[in-house]
Amino acid sequence: MPLLTISWALPLAGAILMLLVPNPHGSRSSLFRWLALLFSTATFMVTLALWYWFQPASADFQFVERVLWIPAFGIDYYVGIDGISLLLIVLTGFLTPIALLSSWVGIEHKVKEFAIFLLALEAAMIGVFISLDLFLFYVFWDAMLVPMYFLIGIWGYDQRIYAAIKFMLYTMAGSVLMLVAILGLAYLHSEATGMYSFDLLKLYMLQIAPETQRWFFLAFTLAFAIKVPLFPFHTWLPDAHVQAPTAGSVILAGVLLKMGTYGLVRFAFPLFPMAAAEFAPWLALLAVIGIIYGALVAMVQPDMKKLVAYSSVSHLGFVVLGICAMNVQGLQGGVYQMLAHGVSTGGLFFLVGMLSDRRHTRAIAAFGGLKNVVPRLTAASLIITLASIGMPALNGFVGEFLIMLGAFRWDPRYVVAAGLGVILSAVYMLWMFQRVYYGPVTDSHNADMPDMKAHEWAGIAPLCAMALFMGIAPTLFLKPMEPSVKRIVERVQTNQNLRVDNEMQNAKFKMQKQRADTRPAREIRRASYTIAP
């Protein structure tokens, strides 16, 4: 059974089906809510089925489907998943129904269109994670912008139009340069073999000159860095997150940002290993700046949603740091952190959405003492907050720990800065928690605030359970990705090695090795990144 095709075609089919059902004057809104929930839950089941039949011991791409699409250019409909993409599509499948629940009552008008765009978005996101053909990947990557644009622009808050356009243009500006690089890669392939190809696995094998690698790596990385978002390309994110409706924020933070880091892992680093080695320290530097900067800016935000948005900048910095370390721990930690951040930040946006639905404000100052009014919401909030901080036994801890371990083996200086980020995250998250939930009820409007409703329970309970589960049983998630992570690390490291072939570089290699032998152990580890032992 073509499970992978079903996994993205099912939500799309749901969207098309809903398009055909008329909704006179919004009279059938609840029908569309339930239909969307049905389709997104079914999609989640499909992704779970994929996990069930996935062979965790193998590093190869599984469930591969391949159909000729545009043969003249070597473009195929070519999909397959390894451990990393598997976990990310499960995350997508998991978060979409939750996102829907988070806007269950918040979205009152044009529910039909809302549901259509959300399902179309899910289809495109899954498509991004399963594509093994660069052309197909780009199609999904760009197609994803349109539904997200509408979700922010139609159902967002006051500044929604500005935020939507900014989101779209920022992301496109980065990705079109990647398009040129993709075309360049296909052309290089035709130079080398006489045939165009967009097949990722074939392009991995391509020998690319260092200078070309540099340019292409920068083009790919710019696209992904904007998506992540890496400092200083993050300015679209606070706008988009804050203005988006709750469901949009959950999806944006939960899945969309991961497309950037996924792109680094799947495309930028393995395709251009030499350039990656060269630029990794700089990327890591930006990542560390992002960690600290995001945390500091988050600390002073008066708006809860903006605070959570900036915390994403900080947390995604960790992911990029782990990827840049490019060793098994770092990369595993990076991927784990992507999942953990999806769950915990998705949850944070959900909770902020609940509060702002009740009070129509997101200002921290408007709340206070909620613990006595809404104890259940407070409990859920506490779990998610601690998960986001990286409390041991919750999901955030495992990822950050592994990333720091990996980064330490590469260059401990980054870890010092990143550790500071961990402390700061505790400061801003706990401070927000304290101001919102503890103390006396300062505003009389809050006194009779209702506690969680059924649909909110249905959304937040799985998130809390998952945060806990990922914290105590991380192996379950680390196992399936391990062979794939090892494969990528090997590919990046050995290709760097293989390509040190001309005399000059050989001489340099020897020289560095000699120097390395006389240096303290820390330095050797650093050198071992650029030239694998």
């Binding site: 545009i70 349109v146 139009i161 052309y187």
Partner: protein, 478 residues
């Protein structure tokens, strides 16, 4: 079997007869009688399409000056599609606007004859005649509503058009002076023999012909007439001339420069590359500042001319085929976008300002959705025809080593997405204030729109058959 000379010109003859029949029907109808004159045009165009399809791969030559090769036939079929969509849109707006349908349809059909002739011409003078046939008809169509704006636009268009024709004719004269012939093949072989001489007259010919073509495809800096003419003309006519004229002019442009003057590629490629860059940049940057939708789309069509020029500059097989594919994709998309504008107008109000589209989603959800698809296709977002077209053009540029043109191209597409999105913002995210919602749209106009959208998605998702046809089409001329 008919004489091959005749076979080559049958597509043109079909349309010519339809045009004459349209005139006749108008002349002989009794006052007050209603005749579906557009139907005659549809019959003629379908005849042209069938005869073009039958001539595929046969390479008929008509009297030495017309070549019905696959390249010309591909463009012919594109033009037939343009004509059919135009007639379907027109059928709903002519009566509303008080435009006499006999004259209108025969002018449209005559200009299509000129366009087809231009795409198939194998002689510089025939290209010139074709250019005049199509231009004269389009000048009249621009001012057919006899209002101030339309008349002014027609007059401007006519003056600048005549000016560019003079350039073109002068270029032909120089080419004839150097080679002693106006037949493209003879000119080409004679020039090939003179490559080394460095005769300055060759470059005079090259430059003047370039200017003539650049006017017709509205490349910067020869684009001045475009925004005014496009804004002043009725929306259907604007759609028609922004696609048909461009397709025909590009076909002739490609034929002359890629075959006849191919020996001088080193000379004209840098010039065209500069033109392409300027056209893409100016078209999009100025487009951002427009508040009238027709004017905005005029600048957007200038920018699209720039993308087509990139394919011409690349001048490799990918580029040649990319021009053909892009012309088809662009024509369908742009025509549909202008179709929406035309259908939304009323007799007293053109409804073509950006703010007229406010809240269209609430009053006409289907129309807003169709317009959005057109705009996203113009912006080059997948999975639409525009995306495949741009991807094809830019891969031509990259494989010819013009990375910088490809980068300018993709960046200007991002800028263009900004102004296309302004329309989307209006339609979906703004409220309609004061102005009453335009009437519902049904009938042929809606059918044409739906067909165009199906075409946009078909070309965007399953482009292989058309890509292959385009790739086949370029084999014969170069």
């Amino acid at each position: 079997m008919l004489d091959p000379n005749l076979m080559a010109i049958i597509p043109m003859l079909c349309v010519t007869f339809a045009a004459l029949a349209a005139m006749g029907a108008e002349a002989f109808r009794s006052p007050g009688e209603r005749i579906a004159i557009g139907g005659l045009g549809v019959i003629g165009l379908i005849g042209a399409a069938i005869s073009a399809a039958m001539a595929w791969n046969r390479n008929y030559e008509g009297f030495g000056v017309i070549v019905a090769d696959n390249f010309g036939l591909f463009v012919t079929i594109t033009l037939v599609i343009v004509g059919l969509l135009t007639i379907m849109f027109s059928s709903q707006v002519l009566e509303r606007d008080g435009v006499p349908s006999g004259e209108y349809y025969s002018l449209v059909l005559f200009s299509i004859v000129g366009m087809i002739m231009m795409a198939m011409a194998n002689d510089l003078l025939v290209i010139f005649i074709a250019l005049e046939i199509l231009s004269l008809a389009v000048y009249v169509l621009t001012g057919i509503r006899r209002e101030i704006a339309g008349t002014e636009a027609a007059f401007k268009y006519f003056l600048l058009g005549a000016f560019s024709s003079a350039f073109f004719l002068y270029g032909i004269a120089f080419a004839y002076g150097v080679t002693g012939s106006t037949r493209l093949t003879t000119v080409g072989s004679s020039l090939a023999a003179q490559v080394m001489t460095g005769n300055p007259l060759i470059f005079m010919a090259l430059g003047l012909l370039l200017v003539g073509f650049a006017f017709k495809i509205s490349a910067v800096p020869f684009h001045m007439w475009t925004p005014d003419a496009y804004e002043g003309a009725p929306a259907v006519v604007t759609g028609f001339m922004s696609t048909g004229v461009k397709a025909a002019a590009f076909a002739a442009f490609a034929r002359v420069f890629l075959s006849t003057f191919s020996q001088f590629k080193a000379e004209w490629a840098p010039m065209l590359a500069a033109l392409a860059a300027a056209t893409m940049i100016l078209g999009t940057v100025v487009g951002v500042a427009q508040s009238n939708l027709k004017r905005m789309l005029a600048y957007s069509s200038i920018a699209h001319g720039g993308y087509l020029l990139v394919g011409l500059v690349a001048a490799n097989d990918v580029g040649k085929a990319a021009i053909l594919f892009y012309l088809l994709a662009y024509s369908v998309t742009n025509l549909a976008a202008f179709g929406v504008i035309a259908l939304l107008g009323t007799r007293d109000r053109a409804n073509d300002e950006l703010r007229d589209f406010a809240g269209l989603w609430h009053s006409h959800p289907a129309l807003a959705a169709l317009m959005t698809v057109c705009l996203l296709s113009l912006g080059g977002l997948p999975p639409t025809a525009g995306f495949i077209g741009k991807w094809y053009i830019f891969s031509a540029a990259v494989s010819a080593g013009y990375y910088w043109l490809a980068i300018i191209g993709v960046l200007t597409s991002v800028v263009s997405v900004f102004f296309y999105l302004r329309v989307v913002v209006m339609m979906y995210m703004a409220d309609r204030q004061g102005v009453p919602a335009p009437a519902r749209v049904t009938g042929f106009g809606m059918t044409a729109l739906v067909l165009a959208i199906v075409g946009i998605f078909y070309l965007g998702i399953l482009p292989t058959p058309v890509l292959n046809l385009a790739a086949e089409s370029i084999a014969t001329i170069f």
